[in-house]
Symmetry: C2
Subunit: 578 residues, 2 copies
């Protein structure tokens, strides 16, 4: 059996930064070529970043992408890397628009491509067939589907290429891989993390390897891009289902692996398959080392996702630092810990903003948090700022409570405007679901680390992070009291969340069903909750859609996050609960 050395580069692109993204690919190419790899593959759209959304319909963006592919090819050749076959993902176009021109709306003029570079030239190109248009994905909106499978013949091995979604769907190009008798199947991906995704993705790769009788080399990008966190987790699985190599999650990595693949045959090709022979003289020097990462447990994966999501939002948008309000409660404590893990405590500013209703423990728990983590810490009492407003407007009840939250928002935004900090808003998914926050108050901020993390999971993460520290002889960051005390917004005396909401065990279970699993009202009740509670909770969810539309973005970690993942009208008046 012929042997190929494959290199899979988990790079971390920034949307639009063709120069920086190319530099990452070139660096990986140097390393791969030094290791004698025959073929280097990078992730889907690794050259442009992903998702590019409606930039795919901007001709100048596509022109820059095309130029970047050619420049990359030239530089690979100029830097002595031309002999290695390089597969790079990028948008290509403009092509003839797919849609009728009925408006100025962007029409699909681009394809989502994998270009194959050898000896300074693009020698072949594959266009993604299956364009995901569900969940956070709008690819059918902006791309034209391809219709031909590409097979590269390299050193007597037939290597088929697919892009991401193509692997997930039966039929289409994946159906032609077996008929084309390929020995290796390279799949380039931009597949975001969600909890337990490794329990779906690896079995899929495994199944496709067995079904198509190929060695599947699956390469994914890594990094945060707005609300998505790509986890890498690139993997190579052979036709008997053995994992030959696996890259670690959430970090840039070059995975190198030797594969012994079936020798190419000259059987007739099925229709819609293009075969291109590439003569390469790369020579490996001795066998590659085995590189199989072990994934950590689910909570550590989740923590790492939240950390990378924040780190990349901060870095890619050019912020030097972040600021957040620390109330002594669990949400802001966990946000501060994530921030410190993401960018270092020295770049984190925490502000305690006690009101006349703040308990003594709020203040002292925030003090302990600041001491544990070591972020910059200041205290800005708000009573003297709130009273003049309450008095002038004669506000009472909720309208007065909201002023406290909004003054805190003004303080954080003021310090942000003065010092350039990114403001973190610390609300969790449970709060956002039921509208339990003050718009322009505690919801003010550019990034919401816990946007997709329900309250019970916030507690679980806090406990996990503390024991992670304890296990390593470090100071647990989150004060025990912030974890154990009953949660309260402290906007009036002796308030607790459960005064007006069901217990979190029930609330989170209903929200998981209604929001995350998108069940209808009757199906939620069938899980064993009372009609009254379900209608109360789902009513809160429906009525707070307008607030969520104005919320900050934050990392998606569930199968259904707020934002472009869940698209529902604000104006919605069900005759009966739905």
């Amino acid at each position: 059996m012929p042997r190929l050395r494959l290199a899979l580069a988990q790079s971390n692109p920034i949307v639009g930064d063709f120069s920086g993204n190319s530099a990452q690919i070139l660096a990986a190419a140097h390393e791969a070529s030094n290791a004698g790899a025959d073929l280097l593959a990078v992730g889907e759209m690794a050259l442009s970043g992903y998702p590019i959304e409606d930039l795919a319909s901007r001709p100048s963006f596509l022109a820059e992408s095309s130029a970047a592919v050619l420049t990359l090819a030239s530089r690979l050749e100029a830097e002595g890397l031309g002999e290695m076959v390089v597969v790079v993902g990028h948008p290509a176009g403009p092509f003839e628009p797919r849609l009728l021109e009925v408006s100025n709306a962007p029409t699909a003029i681009a394809q989502n491509c994998a270009s194959v570079i050898h000896r300074g030239r693009v020698v072949a190109r594959y266009a993604k067939h299956h364009l995901p248009n569900y969940s956070v994905f709008d690819e059918y909106r902006v791309f034209i589907p391809g219709d031909e499978l590409l097979v590269l013949r390299i050193k007597e091995v037939d290597v088929a290429l697919l892009v991401c979604e193509d692997l997930w769907r039966d039929g289409g190009p994946v159906g032609r891989v077996l008929a084309a008798d390929a020995g290796v199947l390279v799949v380039i991906n931009a597949s975001p993390y969600v909890r337990d995704k490794d329990e779906v993705r690896l079995p899929l790769v495994h199944r496709r390897a067995v079904e198509t009788d190929t060695i599947v080399a699956y390469v994914n990008i890594v990094g945060g891009q707005d609300d998505l966190v790509f986890d890498g987790d690139s993997v190579v699985v052979d036709g008997r289902g053995n994992v030959l190599a696996r890259a670690p999650q959430f970090v840039e990595h070059l995975l190198i692996v030797d594969v012994d693949a079936a020798e190419a045959t000259d059987t007739a090709l099925p229709p819609s398959v293009n075969r291109v022979t590439i003569a390469t003289t790369m020579a490996a020097n001795g066998p590659a080392e085995v590189d199989i990462a072990i994934l950590p447990d689910d909570r550590e994966q989740l923590w790492n996702a939240l950390v990378l999501g924040m780190r990349d939002y901060v870095r890619k948008n050019g912020f030097a630092s972040v600021i957040l309000g620390v109330s002594g409660g669990i949400d802001s404590a966990v946000c501060a810990a994530i921030a410190a893990d993401a960018i270092g405590a020295e770049r984190v500013w925490g502000v305690s903003m006690p009101s006349r209703y703040s308990s003594e423990h709020s203040r002292s728990d925030a003090d302990v948090l600041a001491a544990n983590i070591g972020f910059h810490y200041s205290i800005e009492p708000i009573a003297g700022l709130v009273s003049p407003i309450e008095d002038q407007l004669a506000l009472t009840g909720t309208s007065a409570e909201n002023v406290q939250a909004r003054i805190r928002g003004i303080i954080l935004m003021g310090l942000s405007n003065l010092n350039g900090h990114l403001v973190l808003t610390t609300g969790n998914k449970t709060e956002l679901s039921v509208g339990y926050s003050t718009i322009y108050g505690d919801s003010a901020g550019g990034f919401a680390p816990l946007k997709d993390v329900p309250k019970l999971l916030v507690w679980e993460l806090a406990r996990w992070r503390n024991s992670y520290a304890t296990d390593r002889g470090q100071t647990p960051p989150i004060p025990e009291n912030s974890i154990s005390k009953p949660p309260s917004a402290e906007l009036r005396p002796d308030q607790t969340d459960e005064d007006t909401l069901p217990p979190y065990e029930i609330l989170d279970a209903i929200l998981d069903a209604y929001v995350t699993r998108a069940l209808g009202r009757d199906d939620v009740i069938a899980l064993g909750f009372t009609e009254e509670t379900v209608d109360f909770v789902t009513g809160l969810v429906d009525r707070s859609e307008w607030k969520r539309r104005q919320g900050a973005i934050g990392p998606k970690i569930s199968g259904m996050a707020f934002g472009r993942d869940r698209r529902l009208p604000i104006t919605y008046r069900p005759t009966s609960p739905q």
Copy 2:
């Protein structure tokens, strides 16, 4: 030639309100039946409201829709309206999901249907073929396409049915209408207003009528639904291109028209066409009156769109009143005038919030506006609320200026929380484009009437509204001084917008090219602007995406509005301007 009497009902549905929407259809059916109509058609999704977005993937919503169709059919029969053929638009399902279950994401399980009701039963159903998935539309995300044309034989006339986008695309069902030899083509629509759309839509209907040699009866819904305003403008055009009937824009209306159509023949049907014969004994009593509305000029259409958009947002979301800050400037003056036209001045609250930098004319122009329009008016000086914050935080420059805007936001939100007003945010499209607003300050609010109206057009509308009043012997609402004075945010002494921005004539032209027409940077420069100005402006646009994501919704009136119409990443770092 056989004669048919058609009734087209421009109803104004609310998403999810099957009961209220059915009541509107029943009322139209009574009127149509009294007039002896053979066939009544209502708009696309008139039973459920449109767009329903991901509600299309909720089984309980679809179950309610199916039940509502059956209930409507029974009630039509029970109320003596069973003899008339009724075509009603609604979502149907659940069907087998179209997409692979790779996540909890909503998959397409519904079809966008037109059901045909006769004598208390659904006798036929058509499913939309072409699912728009561009601009604000996500139909490919949530619907399964149909694949069969439906032809109804009524009184020896073959009546073909289409849904909205089906009419716009060559090929597919519209291509089969001529081959099926239909005499009438009924198209049910949910087609939102954008400026000059009548210059595209009517010619399309005209062209299709001639191409297919049918009488095209085009019925559209009316009303505001979140960011969309449906304008009605239902029309009937014969095969020679004559307009036989046209409904007025922006109001509910029942259009009744007699059409003399070609007699049905028994030529063989082309493939993928289903023909259903319906025996109806409706009898018209004398000829229908000619009903051809004349559209007003573009500015009046636009004004009406903005008025209806606000009125329906207020009404459908259950607000009793609105509140807005009135600065004496042009934007808030135009918003107040729209609000008064939409819901009456007695339901509008205007608040002047002068700071120490506010000019004397700001205050007096706001006073004049309040007197002209007659809304509830109060004055809340902010100096005493701003100073304590500036002092405590030692804010200066922009960070201090923003506090003024944010205190105003707190005041409006506080009064809203106290009294239940909807807060209007008065920023225009130009401001939103370049990020020239204070987030959580003047951008605070639930509805943004001018979100898609550029600054120059705000002035044009103000002048138009004033002369409209003058022509009718009414008081022009907008103070002349608010129109003529140089615009200023008045956040520091002697500030004007043009201190930091290009003149509005240039700025709006660049934004029209870059945002509304979605041209790339080089194409904008090619229009004759300097590189420096274009890069400055497009840079501002790109960097303020994060603010726009947190902005209120407002009515789309252009080919490219902010929101779901223009989907671009926040994290975007172009190597060079794109």
